[in-house]
């Protein structure tokens, strides 16, 4: 994994898309790894009693996949400074999430190169999450 050179990033650059097959295993693995034991994220019978047809992804896992989507692109020396999401339709077991995003701004601040990204993760019901993020990249050329 290499970190992008901030100087070569351009506004409107597209991030490589990320596709997640949202199986029950993906949902349960994310919920327990984030220590979210709410039954709607692991127990379909319970989810049904709450009016949901299936278990669905929890918000901490949503934020985790967004940070992965960002750093898979920007590299290990990128620091996630901010992730702001609007929560839309649920991500139910058996669905597929497609993450897309692009660079919306660049600036320099506190010895770092900042990059703003707008992104969304959609499924067959619509936008599951959409929002904006800020990454900080080292400014020195020829870094790791």
């Amino acid at each position: 994994m290499k970190t992008l050179d901030w100087h070569t990033i351009r506004v409107d650059d597209a991030l490589p898309p990320l596709r997640i097959e949202v199986t029950a295993t993906v949902i349960v693995a994310g919920a327990i790894a984030t220590r979210d034991f709410m039954p709607v994220h692991h127990d379909r019978t319970y989810a049904n009693t709450q009016g949901a047809p299936e278990i669905f992804m929890n918000i901490m896992t949503d934020n985790g996949y967004v940070s992965r989507f960002l750093t898979d692109w920007a590299g290990p020396d990128a620091m996630v400074k901010k992730i702001a999401i609007r929560l839309g339709v649920p991500a139910f077991a058996g669905s597929r999430l497609e993450y897309t995003g692009s660079v919306t701004g660049k600036s320099e601040g506190a010895g770092e190169g900042l990059v703003e990204v707008a992104f969304r993760a959609s499924n067959d019901l619509g936008d599951h999450v959409s929002g904006t993020a800020v990454l900080g990249l080292p400014l020195a050329r020829g870094g790791t």
């Binding site: 979210d36 709607v40 918000i59 620091m79 400074k81 992730i83």
Partner: protein, 185 residues
Amino acid sequence: MSSETTAADPLRLLRGAIGRPIGPPSVAPDPVNQPMIRHWAAALEDHNPIYTDAAAAVASRFGEIVAPPMMLQTWTMPTPTITGIGDRGGSPVATTRNPLAVLDEAGFVGTLATNSEVEVERYLCLGEMVTATTVLESVSDVKQTRAGRGHFVTWVTTWRDARDEIVGRQTFRMLKFKPYGGSTP
């Protein structure tokens, strides 16, 4: 508009709590640690080497293994009591007092998370202990939404390290609403 009248007093009650911490601070049950990070990285298939590869982490700008930034809330999640979790409405622990109960009692029984904004001051390192404090930030007037009429409620949770310095915060907004037809979507 009898419903508006009955909702006014709970709203005043709830707004009286704005700016004050909701309950005592949540202290992480365990320090930031490699097993939980490895578990998280495997679950989300996040292969960023700074989370699990000591040599790569040392060579990075971070200089050592760091926790995934979006694990911030995970560190202070309460240790669950599995028995009875369904009977508690899905709450992992027995809750003492939910400040939003006044809205439920006024008929705003639906809950829909709408926004999350996580700001990261710095990444956490192995061995660090974090504490979270949650403050009620705002309660909107009644709004007409697609889900029904409801109030937007916003909290801010702030995480601090052992030196009491802020490491990150999350602004979280949810809609408490009166479901159409009396059922929660």
